[in-house]
Amino acid sequence: MATWLAIVACFAAPATALAQATSADAVATAAAAGSTSETASDAIPGSNDPWEPFNRSMFDFNEGLDRWVIKPAAVGWDTVLPRPAQVSVDNFFDNLKFPARFVNDLLQGEIDPAAVTLCRFVVNTTAGLGGFIDWGTDMGLPKHSADFGQTLGRWGVPPGPYIVWPVFGSSNPRDTVGIAADSYLDISALFGDIATLAAARVVQTVNTRSLLLDEVDTAREASLDFYIAVRTAYFERRQRLIQGSSDTERGNDDLYFPDYSDQEVLP
């Protein structure tokens, strides 16, 4: 059921210890790419993809990585760990994203969501035993995402062309800069040395993937061209996260909605 969630979560979710190294390169590339002006290519949103050949080969690499390494590990993990436990692990890692989320809520001028983020963190870290139990959601404080790529989008920075990074997956220059900036607010460094963090990142990746086993399979099967399906989904999801404040998403999203009013297709 959660097809597109799965695609986006899986491929937008950062992956392993390679991450740190990748983001440094990413900033340099993004800075270079950001200077080229954006041209509206055609009517299909998200199809700005001048580096498609490179992106497709990276996409294939990531698919291979998933098929031969990440998915098998996730299947094993799923066999050992019952789903509620997987959800708890997921909650734990999500809770650690608090600083970047809070700061970005504020940078976006989203005071109420910032309060929700703060309250969730306090409640879940204490009563939720270090973040493993998400009481916040039960209390009417739903989770929402906020990151610096989204903040830049709110400030009017265009996404730029689609990029697929090895291991990282779908991105664009704006969101790549965002990930690099948010990494400065990553508090996990407080909790251990490099080896521990790398291990934690592996656990996080495998756990996330294990929650999405069926969804990713469906997404692959449901598409005629999985690359384009993921590209479109990534673009669209990011645009909507930027346009609508987390829960009060409203009206003017017609630009990225399919063109429902296209005269030629009317009955």
């Binding site: 059921m1 929700v116 739903p142 989770k143 399906a229």
Partner: protein, 217 residues
């Protein structure tokens, strides 16, 4: 200890303000989606049905409540008019089959999820969007339905899952194929995909270890 009291109180106040009230308002579109969801859940929860029977019954619900004709037109957009009437009707059929083949396979993955209607809003052209959440263990899934009145009856014309529109996604995938290879090739690919998918419907007997936890959620 005393100094903590005002702080704790202030914090409690802050949190109570941050709690978001449930959206109010009732529309017949909302009721329609709620009813659709309830019908689907009744089928999914029915232990007495085989997978084939469940797929069939859910197909019946979907065929009555989705306007596949409009969806197919929206998916092809400007390319719609490039198809002959025969190709058009074949596309509607194959598109519908594609959805039921791919989503039909998930019927056995049901893990006690429930559906909650969370809001609605009016759209252009008299369309209506009904926002729902699939509640489950783990993160909720946001699913919005776009509805249009067809002959006085609401019909679903798009599903937006976690902010990604089904129609828009298919549109971008098919755009290249139709533009570069033509409508016949696009139809051939779709037919092939459906035939391959159908052979393992509704359950290919794959081991899915996650199912063992279904009862404990």
């Amino acid at each position: 200890m005393k100094t903590w009291a005002p702080l704790a109180f202030a914090f409690a106040m802050l949190c109570s303000l941050a709690v978001q009230p449930a959206p109010a308002g009732a529309q017949d579109a909302r009721a329609y989606i709620q009813e659709t969801g309830d019908q689907v859940l009744v089928v999914l929860k029915n232990q007495g049905l085989s997978s084939e029977q469940k797929v069939k019954q859910i197909e019946d619900i979907a065929y009555a409540r989705f306007d596949f004709d409009t969806m197919a037109r929206l998916v092809l957009a400007r390319n719609w008019s490039k198809l002959t009437p025969q190709q058009q009707s074949e596309f509607v059929q194959e598109f519908r089959r594609h959805l039921s083949v791919t989503y039909g396979k998930n019927i056995e993955n049901y893990r006690n999820e429930t559906i909650e209607v969370t809001g609605d809003r009016e759209e252009a052209r008299g369309d209506w969007t009904v926002k729902t959440k699939i509640l489950r263990s783990g993160d909720d899934i946001l699913v919005d339905y776009r509805l249009r009145k067809v002959d006085g009856q609401w019909k679903i014309i798009d599903v937006v899952i976690e902010r990604v529109s089904l129609v828009a996604n298919f549109r971008s995938q098919l755009q290249d194929v139709v533009a570069n290879k033509g409508a016949d090739e696009m139809l051939r690919m779709l037919r092939e995909k459906n035939a391959a998918g159908q052979s393992i419907l509704p359950n290919d007997g794959k081991v899915s270890p996650g199912d063992t936890s279904a009862a404990s959620s």
